[in-house]
Amino acid sequence: MRFKTNTEHNHHHNYDEVFGVSLSVLIARADEKSVTMPSGLTREQRREWAIKTARKVQS
């Protein structure tokens, strides 16, 4: 399965793509707010952190 973070990507070929992602999308992602991942987490802890963080971002 192949994933991208949302559906903004064009299904047609974009000649500014880098490995399937439009450079303009990457630039927009870079300009988004950042959340800093706590260091030293186990995978399960990291995933729990990510779920809580995403809920905060979306609320």
Binding site: G20, S34, T53
Partner: protein
């Protein structure tokens, strides 16, 4: 500052490797984490995160490259503008082994799946997006 023997000692602090998520990537990673079936891509992302936390970018088995090598077919001046933006935003990508790594014989491996990130410094990256190259097309950064 001295120790019990009266000899001088100093506290040495090491720069910590830090990983940021873009808000979109945070949502994406959380969605993968909540899936009832664990997908390979999530473990590939975690493998790279854990490597970076311990070592930075050094020593990762997959190819790491700046995302500035756009096809020459993009008309100018658009191509130069895009490259300038990619450089200004410090856009890089790393091959993370999804679905698997392939040895190139050049000291690193490549995979269809890559993780796009912003290289804010040698000690800090911001994860942006997962992408795949089309198997029927030549990737832009294979040597």
């Amino acid at each position: 500052m001295g120790d019990q023997n009266g000899t001088q000692s100093s506290i040495v602090t090491y720069a910590q490797y830090t990983v940021d998520f873009s808000e979109s990537f945070s949502t994406f990673y959380a969605a993968l984490s909540e899936m009832p079936t664990r997908l390979n891509i999530l473990d590939c992302i975690d493998d790279f995160i854990e490597h970076f936390e311990d070592n930075g970018l050094r020593g990762w088995k997959g190819k790491i490259a700046p995302s500035t090598r756009l096809p020459a077919t993009i008309p100018e001046p658009k191509r130069s503008t895009l490259i300038a933006h990619a450089e200004a935003k410090k856009l890089w990508h790393v091959h993370i082994g999804d679905p698997s790594f392939r040895d190139t014989g050049n000291g690193y491996s490549v995979s269809d799946g890559v993780l796009h990130f912003q290289k804010l410094s040698s000690y800090r990256i911001k994860l942006l997006e997962v992408g795949y190259h089309r198997p029927m097309e030549l990737p832009t950064d294979v040597d």
